[in-house]
């Protein structure tokens, strides 16, 4: 082993990296940004707003419990109102004018123990969890002050979906959206970069081909594969095929078998629109990359914040207040919400929230395509 040659190699590597400014920036800045963002979310997250409704079905004995519970919930920072009956409470939680409703049963005084029902929306299980936990803590306080009664059984029900039976129902749509977005971006970014660096774009610009034609052609080409990818991913997530045991092999199921309340075709359309936006994003960002490595380095800048902020992992309502407006400019936010509307709520196009999500995603796709075609210039040098 020659020391000189090794040293020459070492020097060359250092020199190369030193001249690759984006690499340097990403090497040192990206980890700080990502870990900083994550810490900020976890540590400075907003306590979820609790707008509670208490429905007292127990008459006189319930009044005392309702009053104690109100006091305990208000100590948690909640606003508490009384609701006349279960139907009006359900309506309020469904239209999100209340975040949680507590139903005190008619047999509150007689049953041992009574069953208290907590009602939440159900679209976002992690946000619901915070609501349920707050009510449970309030009840513990009530029971402690009462000092005599047996702690009540608490039952959690939701307007949409089934609470916590399968965490994947809400999580799977977020993952489908994220991975479709991620892989389509990566594929387009790298292949368009090759077009730029391999001299074929220069040559293509010397033909009568228009910029819009290039973006459309790319969107169709990668859109085809994105469509296939999304279809496969959805079949994998939704489907479940039981394979009977063969010889020594035990029986097993293929597919995640996540229940979808709404139409899988509609879910498919939402992800395809998202993926088409990712094609143009890839073309656009390839302008700023000189090497394939740099396309990959955009991931912590462009994709990781979306993963952390768009509701994939953490409910948007629990993010630090300063970060919440950012979620409005992220396509993934709308895709995740739209897919949850379909998966959990069973939304169809009659639901205004879903129509809005799809509309915003279409606007993003068109916007990215316009910007992408502007980055393809005849003057490349």
């Amino acid at each position: 082993m020659s020391l000189r040659r090794t040293q020459a190699l070492f020097r060359r590597v250092v020199r190369e990296i030193r001249r690759d400014r984006p690499s340097i920036a990403l090497l040192f800045i990206a980890p700080l940004v990502v870990t900083g963002l994550l810490t900020f979310i976890l540590r400075e997250g907003e306590t979820p707003t609790i707008d509670a409704l208490i429905v007292n079905q127990a008459g006189q004995p319930g009044t005392l419990v309702a009053a104690e519970l109100t006091r305990a919930l208000e100590a948690e920072g909640a606003t508490v109102q009384a609701a006349a009956d279960e139907v009006s409470a359900r309506t309020a939680v469904a239209d999100e004018s209340a975040t949680v409703a507590v139903l005190l049963p008619a047999d509150l005084a007689t049953a041992q123990p009574p069953t208290i029902t907590i009602l939440t929306n159900g679209l976002d299980p992690s946000a619901d969890g915070a609501q349920v936990a707050a009510v449970q803590r309030a009840f513990l306080a009530v029971v402690a002050s009462a000092a005599n009664g047996a702690p009540p059984t608490i039952e959690h029900t939701t307007i949409y979906g089934v609470p916590s039976s399968d965490p994947l129902v809400a999580f799977a749509p977020a993952l489908v959206a994220f991975f479709a977005y991620f892989f389509v971006y990566l594929l387009t970014g790298v292949s368009f970069l090759r077009e730029r660096t391999g001299g074929t774009l220069e040559r293509l610009m010397a033909t009568p081909v228009a910029r819009g034609e290039i973006v459309t052609g790319y969107s169709l080409g990668f859109g085809l594969f994105a469509t296939l990818q999304v279809a496969l991913l959805l079949v994998w997530v939704i489907g479940s095929v039981q394979v009977p045991s063969i010889g020594p092999l035990p029986a097993f199921a293929v597919g995640l078998g996540v229940d979808v309340a709404g139409s899988p075709v509609l879910a498919f359309l939402v992800v395809v629109v998202l993926a088409l936006g990712a094609v143009s994003l890839g073309i656009f960002l390839s302008t700023f990359a000189r090497t394939e490595l740099q396309v990959i380095q955009f991931i912590p800048i462009v994709l990781t914040p979306q993963f952390l902020l768009s509701g994939v992992l953490f409910p948007i309502s629990s993010l630090p207040a300063v970060l919440q407006p950012l979620t409005a400019i992220m396509p993934l936010t709308y895709a995740v919400d739209g897919l949850r509307q379909i998966f959990v709520r069973g939304a169809d196009l009659g639901i205004a929230e879903l129509r809005f999500d799809i509309l915003v995603l279409v606007a993003f796709a068109i916007g990215f395509a316009t910007v992408a075609s502007l980055t393809i210039r005849r003057e490349i040098a």
Partner: protein
């Protein structure tokens, strides 16, 4: 900005020249890559753009094709001001890089560029591959072709729409001597049929195959004329020496 010594007019008949540049300039920051070039080039001739690396040959071609915006001046091809997307139909451009898709076959590359030029005729593809003698390799994946074969494919992609004006940026680099002769024979056939060809090169031994030469130095046309005229003007039989003398400087790459 002195005008280059014009040793021959080049322009044959009346009417619009095939290519016209008027006061063409292109700067990249402080560097003048193309510095006040004015030329008229006639139809059906082969023009050799000769000069060392970095003398502005590629930038001049890109300005004429409309791939770069001039800092000053204007360019016309076949009477149409460049850049013009529509006019690109009548222009062929073989880039210095091969500019072909490695994962496609030779025929797929040629027919892709044919389609980009609006040609749907399959015989055009077959003919272009025939001309560069790649007909037997038409179904080979481009990445598996040799360097010379890829160069030939690149030429085929520039010819496939039979353009009346052809820009060839160092077309014979990496091409073996035998094929080089065939390339030039083909260029001559095209020129005889009326095609105007601009060939850039930094090797002088191809110069005599051109009808007329433009010596380029530091972004300018330092001399222009036939090989014989330039030799006579420089008082030497050696074209390389002629180049150095007419470019008024010693630091010329061989």
């Amino acid at each position: 900005m002195g005008q280059p010594p014009v040793l021959a007019t080049g322009s044959g008949g009346a009417g619009v020249p095939a290519i016209r540049a008027v006061g063409l300039c292109k700067s990249f920051g402080p560097i003048r890559a193309v510095d006040d070039i004015s030329v008229d080039l006639a139809h059906g001739r082969i023009y050799g753009l000769l000069g060392p690396n970095g003398s502005g040959k590629t930038t001049l071609i890109r300005l004429l094709v409309g791939l770069a915006a001039p800092t000053a001046g204007s360019a016309e091809v076949l009477g149409v001001a460049m850049p013009s997307r529509d006019n690109l139909r009548r222009i062929g451009y073989m880039t210095q890089a091969d500019g072909v898709y490695p994962s496609l076959t030779a025929a797929e590359n040629a027919s892709f560029f044919a389609a980009a030029y609006g040609i749907r005729d399959a015989s055009a593809v077959a003919q272009a591959l025939d001309v560069v003698e790649l007909a037997d390799r038409r179904d080979a994946i481009t990445a598996t072709l040799s360097g010379g074969q890829r160069r030939r494919l690149s030429l085929a992609c520039a010819l496939v729409h039979r353009p009346p004006v052809l820009f060839l940026d160092e077309p014979t680099v990496g091409v073996d001597p035998l094929l080089r002769i065939q390339f030039w024979e083909h260029f001559r056939t095209l020129a005889d049929a009326g095609t105007t060809i601009i060939v850039s090169s930094h090797v002088m031994d191809e110069a005599d195959r051109c009808d007329e030469l433009l010596f380029m130095r530091s972004g300018r046309v330092s001399a222009r004329g036939t090989g014989a005229e330039l030799r006579r003007a420089a008082g030497t039989d050696d074209l390389e020496l002629a180049f150095i003398r007419l470019s008024e400087g010693p630091e010329v790459e061989p």
